[in-house]
Symmetry: C2
Subunit: 144 residues, 2 copies
């Protein structure tokens, strides 16, 4: 795997974000700085980086692939309402969970895990209280 300006930029951009962008979201961001950057290049490099376990290709129920610049195993929550995916940091019982998962990895010989919780995020719950019984919002748009 040779170096390339594009790959470095893609990785840097992904790492600078706390959200979990799709290939085309990253492409859109990078295009400001690199107008000739091709979408194919973004796809190619994200796959490559994930294969080399530099980044994480998320296991999510959505229709677009999402990537995470933080390759360390950690947890995600998908909101039923807005579809956003958020990192679960400082979740209650997080330490306990971690401890069990480490044991499970060791005994199964697996190298990684991805936990996806499903529910309604705080933000949407707030909205739901304010304006009850509105039309449901689209699922995939903002993949936080």
């Amino acid at each position: 795997m040779n170096h390339s300006t594009q790959r470095d930029a893609i990785l840097a951009e992904l790492r600078s974000l706390t959200c979990h962008p799709t290939a085309d979201e990253l492409h859109a961001r990078l295009r400001n700085r690199m107008p000739r950057l091709s979408l194919g290049t973004v796809y190619r490099n994200l796959e490559l980086l994930a294969e080399h376990r530099v980044i994480l290709k998320l296991a999510t129920a959505g229709s677009q692939k999402r990537f995470d610049g933080n390759a360390d195993p950690h947890h995600h929550m998908r909101c039923d309402s807005c579809g956003r995916i958020r990192d679960m940091h400082g979740m209650p019982h997080d330490g306990e969970l971690e401890a069990v998962l480490v044991k499970i990895l060791a005994s199964t010989g697996c190298h990684a895990y991805q936990l996806e919780l499903a529910g309604v995020c705080d933000e949407c719950r707030g909205k739901a209280v304010q304006r009850t019984n509105r039309t449901k919002r689209g699922g995939e748009k903002n993949g936080g």
Copy 2:
């Protein structure tokens, strides 16, 4: 949601399987019995059933959506080599894990979780020992 012969058949077929088929895999199976069943109908019903939480739409890193007739939260392992997804039943430390996850669901207000482990399955590990350093097998074909 009215009843329909097709929906019942799709659900029954999915429930009869321990693997996690894609829409077109289910369609292929059902077509023997129901030659006029359309692929669109299968997609439509799987989405519908998942939305009603009768079945589970899996959170997986693959390129095709997979479904699970068992809507109760349980764990999966994706094989790096063959791409198959297997249920993890009777995993070591399973009880412990379950206990922590129940607590987490309760305290976060989430309704479901999906844990995906990544590694090489027993079957592929066996093969790897027998025929070392062969070309890698295709990732997505059999989704177990």
